[in-house]
């Protein structure tokens, strides 16, 4: 059996997920041995645009040129895997997606400057444009989760990711709950997989893995308001990384709060 043909691509993001793949140091030879990497602009020259078994795509889509490239990758790939939070959920650049008003924001930043590169779009996650078979979230992705998924794809098995919130991993590590201290923590809204790195150092979860399987945004929102946070601050904090997704669930919550104030 020949090795799976793989391409690794980056769009709008910090390239941290591709970097994390290269950072798999001691496993890199195994990785390059197990798959045939046809395209990985960050790591090699002589990249080919050919038929692929698996395409790994990092970053959100924010220009028309990127969109065309993405569609081209999709047309060549049997399986498309979104890697990293920008590709999976839009990332910080998609924070305002649900609010609308992209044109106005664009004008606020660029004024009437002529942008020659490519027409800009409101940044959106990859699955807003093409079919995505698998999401490997993270900011950046976790090496263990990535290698576990690749190993299974190569072996013809289904990858598995924790679907529960990061609170589970946090408790496994016997941390005190940051929410109980009255401080903001996005743990209950956020997918596990990072090993609860931040709360294990007493730093609140900022939600960089994106939304978990079954989050209760309303309960988290209400709890934080009770702890003294303003609705604006709560919204800003919990939509930071997975804005596109969480903002949909947030709609109506602020309204309820405002009605309650009346």
């Amino acid at each position: 059996m020949s090795s799976p043909r793989v391409g690794i691509y980056g769009f709008t993001g910090c390239a941290g997920d591709q970097l994390m793949i290269l950072n798999c140091e001691d496993r890199l030879i195994d990785l390059f041995g197990a798959v045939d990497i046809l395209s990985f602009a960050m790591a090699k020259s002589d990249n080919k645009d050919e038929e692929l078994d698996v395409a790994f795509v990092e970053g959100s889509i924010s220009t028309e040129e990127q969109l065309e490239h993405l569609k081209n990758i999709r047309s060549r790939a049997k399986v498309l895997v979104a890697i990293g939070t920008c590709a999976c959920w839009g990332g910080p650049q998609a924070m305002k997606l649900e609010e609308g008003g992209f044109e106005k924001r664009y004008k606020g930043v660029y004024g009437d400057a002529k942008i020659a590169v490519s027409k800009a779009l409101e940044a959106q996650p990859v699955d807003a444009f093409v079919k995505v078979e698998l999401k490997i979230p993270g900011c950046p992705i976790d090496k263990t989760e990535f290698l576990s998924a690749v190993s299974k794809i190569v072996a013809g098995r289904h990858p598995y990711f924790y679907k529960f919130p990061v609170c589970t991993e946090c408790k496994w590590k016997e941390n005190l709950c940051i929410l109980l201290e009255g401080k903001f923590c996005a743990g209950p809204l956020t997918k596990a997989g990072c090993g609860a790195v931040c709360p294990s150092h007493n730093i609140p979860c900022v939600g960089c893995w994106g939304p978990t399987d079954d989050l209760n945004v309303g309960a988290e929102y209400k709890l934080l308001i009770e702890k003294g946070y303003s609705p604006e601050e709560v919204t800003r904090k919990i939509t930071k990384f997975s804005g596109a997704e969480v903002a949909k669930l947030m709609k109506g919550l602020e309204l309820k709060d405002m009605e309650a104030k009346k």
């Binding site: 496993r27 195994d30 990785l31 041995g33 197990a34 290698l147 576990s148 690749v150 190993s151 299974k152 190569v154 072996a155 098995r157 598995y160 679907k163 529960f164 919130p165 609170c167 589970t168 946090c170 408790k171 496994w172 016997e174 941390n175 005190l176 709950c177 929410l179 109980l180 743990g187 209950p188 399987d213 079954d214 989050l215 209760n216 309303g218 309960a219 988290e220 209400k222 709890l223």
Partner: protein, 341 residues
């Protein structure tokens, strides 16, 4: 059953001696937290701490562990890597919790991974100082008569040491000169005072009387919807509960090979994935159904099967839930038909 007396200053020497049998673990401070950790001796333990974040179930049934290694020819169990461990400073509620786990993992279906760890673990209990979250009196778990190898009751001037198993007795025989059977009138009076004192310490207000009936009557109560609206589905309650034992199993494959491991990790019936079955059907798709399942399992269904609730009154759910959903508030809400603030 045998009860011996020991001078308090001799405990340190005793623990030093029993380390010959295996690793010594006990409750120790880690910043503001108290967790069961491997210790060199008594001086590193905090025996005044009321509860650790996770109960000692983590030793018998770790958060995530490898069950076996496999390749295309078969599999090899990974039970031989378990060390001998002595857990010192386990409180009565947590020993009750281990007894519940024993029933589930060793009786009808013997779990080889649990059994191996249980066999290699000695439980040395210690009396505790309850706080406002403890519910042991309401659950009748504030004292313990069996399920441990040794149990140390601190009576200020000395320890009364319960010998609960032949393995516990073997430890005593490593240093027989540290123990005596000269128990007199004052010791009995002291012990009786201690029992009264302990009962008076528990003031959580928990009331589990009539619970199976209250749950049956309240099964369709809108109280559950109110609770579910508050619930964050974070699952912390199930991770810290001494009797929660749900797990998931997943294979990990070595890159580019057919070799791998099968791992087991803690899961929770509070999560939607847990009740998801092939074909996409979910038996408990709604949060309210999952919340109801957990509480009815602990405080109603378990009673019908094993004769008592599987809550041991340790207070960890009370200390852990960020939105104040726990066995005290839920039973109270059901009883009074009102969710407290």
């Amino acid at each position: 059953m045998m009860i011996l007396k020991m001078k308090k200053e001799d405990l340190s020497v005793f623990l030093e001696t029993v380390k010959e049998w295996g690793e010594l673990w006990g409750p120790a401070r880690k910043g503001e937290r108290v967790v069961f950790q491997r210790v060199d001796g008594l001086s590193q333990m905090d025996l005044k701490a009321t509860r650790t974040i996770i109960p000692p179930k983590k030793f018998l049934y770790p958060q995530r562990f490898t069950m076996f290694d496999f390749d295309d020819k078969g599999y090899v169990e990974r039970t031989e890597h378990v060390p001998n461990r002595i857990l010192f400073g386990i409180h009565p509620c947590d020993i009750h919790g281990i007894q519940v786990m024993d029933e589930l993992f060793l009786e009808e279906y013997r779990d080889p991974y649990y059994a191996e760890r249980r066999e290699k673990t000695l439980l040395l209990g210690h009396s505790c100082i309850p706080d406002d979250k403890c519910m042991c009196s309401a659950r009748d778990t504030e004292f313990i008569a069996e399920g441990f190898d040794l149990f140390f009751t601190d009576l200020k001037m000395f320890y009364l040491v319960w010998v609960g198993s032949s393995r516990g007795h073997d430890l005593v025989r490593m240093r027989p000169e540290l123990f005596n059977r000269n128990i007199g009138r004052d010791d009995i009076l002291n012990y009786n005072e201690y029992r009264k004192w302990k009962k008076a310490q528990v003031q959580s207000g928990a009331d589990f009387t009539g619970m199976p009936d209250i749950f049956e009557l309240g099964y369709n109560s809108p109280i559950w919807d109110e609770l579910a609206e508050k619930c964050l589905s974070c699952g912390q309650c199930t991770m810290v509960c001494p009797t929660c034992n749900c797990f998931n199993v997943v294979d990990e494959v070595e890159l580019g090979t057919v070799e791998g491991t099968r791992d087991r990790f803690w899961d929770s019936c509070m999560f939607r994935e847990y009740s998801l079955v092939a074909g996409g059907h979910n038996f408990r798709d709604k949060r309210v159904e999952r919340l109801k399942l957990w509480y009815t399992h602990k405080l109603q269904a378990y009673i019908s099967e094993f004769g008592e609730p599987s809550c041991v009154g340790c207070g960890r759910c009370v200390a852990t839930c960020p939105v104040d959903i726990n066995v005290v508030t839920v039973t109270k809400a059901l009883r009074e038909q009102e969710v407290g603030k």
